[in-house]
């Protein structure tokens, strides 16, 4: 059980940050704090810079203005304690690797160069697969699993990494309801254990359901705050521009999610 202090510890501090691949920033004015045990949804249309922000937190895209601090350190120095979960369908499904081997990859940075994973690493990988409900799928080829199962294997890899900050890129895209349920349950347990979670998503309902805060992005930050006061029709319309339609009452439809 995390103490009060740990629970309020700042996992990720972003101050007026702008990220750029070369000179022109692709994302500007990002400002917010994610505490240990909290989850934040990054919301915005395609090309809004959600992936860029995740990469900037990993230290893979330069921050040209402002700052990003991960667990009190610069992004590159904190990388061992940050886990990145890519979209399952960006990976080669013909690759001859089992679900168990993929989960074990999360241990590689700890194992270190040259050495082979030991018994403790194998146990951690097996336990991580159990966390996402795939304990009996360890020997199956990664590519033979369903999209939702593959996404869960990738989360298991992040769990095996024992990271304090998890970054997930569109984890709920095109996955079945039961996988979604299992992913959310595993993420909630991670949060309860003190991990901070940042999820980029198109799914406003899921953001409502799972996240404490949202960050609305479209080339720059439109809002960063608690779900209840930030995920509002006005702010969504501002973020999505012409791609948001006002329905009766409080509803908004996004025509280009």
């Amino acid at each position: 059980m995390p103490t009060e202090d740990e629970a309020r510890a700042e996992a990720l501090v972003i101050r007026h940050a702008a990220a750029a691949y070369d000179r022109t920033p692709v994302l500007e004015g990002v400002d917010g704090v994610v505490h240990a045990g909290e989850s934040v949804a990054l919301i915005g249309p395609n090309g809004a810079g959600k992936s860029t922000l995740l990469k900037a937190v990993l230290g893979l895209v330069p921050v040209v203005h402002g700052s990003i601090t991960v667990l009190g350190r610069p992004p590159l120095a904190a990388r061992r304690e940050v886990a990145y979960v890519p979209q399952a369908d960006t990976l080669d499904t013909e690759f001859p690797v089992t679900a168990g081997q993929v989960a074990l990859m999360g241990r590689y940075p700890r194992v270190g160069w040259v050495r082979r994973p030991g018994r403790a690493d194998r146990q951690a990988a097996a336990a991580a697969l159990g966390e996402v409900g795939l304990a009996d799928h360890a020997g199956r080829r990664f590519g033979s699993l369903s999209g939702g199962q593959r996404q869960r294997v990738l989360l298991a890899r992040a769990i095996a990494q024992q990271a304090r900050l998890l970054l997930l890129d569109e984890p709920f895209n095109g996955i079945d309801a039961s996988s979604e349920e299992l992913l959310l349950a595993a993420l909630r347990r991670l949060r309860a254990a003190g991990a901070a979670v940042v999820v980029s998503t198109h799914d406003l309902a899921l953001a409502h359901l799972f996240c404490d805060e949202v960050c609305l992005l479209n080339r720059h930050q439109f809002a960063f705050g608690p779900v209840a006061t930030t995920l509002t029709p006005d702010l969504l319309r501002a973020t999505y521009g012409g791609h948001a339609l006002q329905l009766r009452g409080d509803s908004v439809i996004l025509t280009q999610p």
Binding site: L58, L60, R79, R80, V82, A83, Y84, P86, T90, L91, D92, E94, F95, P96, V97, T98, Q101, V102, M105, Y108, P109, V111, W113, V114, R116, P117, R141, R157, Q161
Partner: protein, 296 residues
């Protein structure tokens, strides 16, 4: 069977040739697994061609062909890694330019020599029967270096091949791992220059691993089959070419015979292996049985 597989190797030069193809088969088979997993067949092909001018230059200035090949291999591995990671040229165009320009330099240089045709064919296709003690030792040293590196960096190379973005996020230098693999491929080419030449070695690297991939779904078993098949095809190819050349009086180039044996194995695996459906998926499935006439 004995007269085909054992008898040819009673003479010393054939024993040396056999030893060379066995080592090369295992070596190329092991490296090939990563080349196939990374889908780098074209990069491997480029490396086989870029080593060629190094061989020619070393020959012209009377230096060791081995070290000429080594220098060219390391230089081209470095150039290839840089070229394929830049965004200004598409990787395939960059590779094609590097491959053809290096190769052309080699041909231009070798064409100035009197014994042009004979030398050219020796560099391109190798002379397995001319393998001597020194060449065997060089091959062994290169094999030891390459195989040790592969075993040591097995998990990192696997992670990079499967998920480069994830590897980068975990803190691995993907560009360094790429350079390592390119240098390993280049070293295999160097080791194979004398025995099978710079052109056919790409078949030794790609075909056993691609065949193994058709048969199994695990990297470990794929590596075992790939190495075993590389060595076995070397032995069989050498024995067949010897038998046909000596007993039947038809000259068969041994390097090419080895490649033909390998390709036969690949076709067999394609026909019977469980991986044929996977392959069909990758290449878009079997051709349609009927064609639809174009609509206007």
């Amino acid at each position: 069977m004995t007269h085909l597989l054992i008898e040819p190797f009673e003479v010393a030069f054939m024993q040396r040739a056999l030893l060379a193809v066995l080592i090369l088969g295992v070596l190329a088979g092991a490296v090939g697994v990563f080349v196939v997993l990374r889908r780098l067949a074209f990069v491997g092909d480029a490396l086989t061609h870029t080593v060629f001018p190094g061989v020619v230059i070393a020959f012209l200035i009377g230096q060791s062909i081995f070290f000429g090949a080594l220098a060219a291999a390391l230089l081209s591995a470095l150039l290839l890694t840089t070229l394929t990671s830049t965004r200004r040229v598409t990787p395939d165009a960059g590779l094609a330019i590097l491959l053809t320009s290096f190769f052309a330099v080699g041909v231009v240089l070798v064409s100035r020599v009197q014994s042009y045709t004979a030398d050219l064919s020796a560099f391109l296709f190798g002379r397995i029967l001319a393998v001597d003690r020194a060449v065997l030792i060089q091959t062994l040293v290169v094999a030891a270096i390459v195989l040790t590196t592969l075993v040591a960096l097995r998990k990192e190379l696997l992670l990079r091949a499967f998920d480069p973005e994830g590897a980068t996020a975990m803190g691995y230098r993907v560009d360094v791992l790429d350079l390592v693999l390119n240098v390993l491929v280049a070293l295999v080419v160097v080791a194979a220059v004398k025995a099978v030449g710079t052109v056919l070695v790409i078949a030794l690297i790609i075909v056993p691993a691609a065949t193994a991939r058709l048969l199994v779904d695990r990297v470990a078993s794929m590596t075992a089959i790939s190495c075993g098949l590389g060595a076995l095809a070397g032995w069989l190819g050498l024995a067949i070419s010897y038998d046909v050349s000596i007993q039947r009086g038809v000259r068969l180039a041994s390097g090419a015979t080895i490649v033909v044996v390998l390709v036969a194995c690949f076709i067999f695996a394609l026909a019977v292996g469980p991986g044929r459906r996977a392959l069909a998926r990758r290449f878009g499935g079997p051709p349609a049985t009927s064609s639809t006439p174009g609509a206007g």
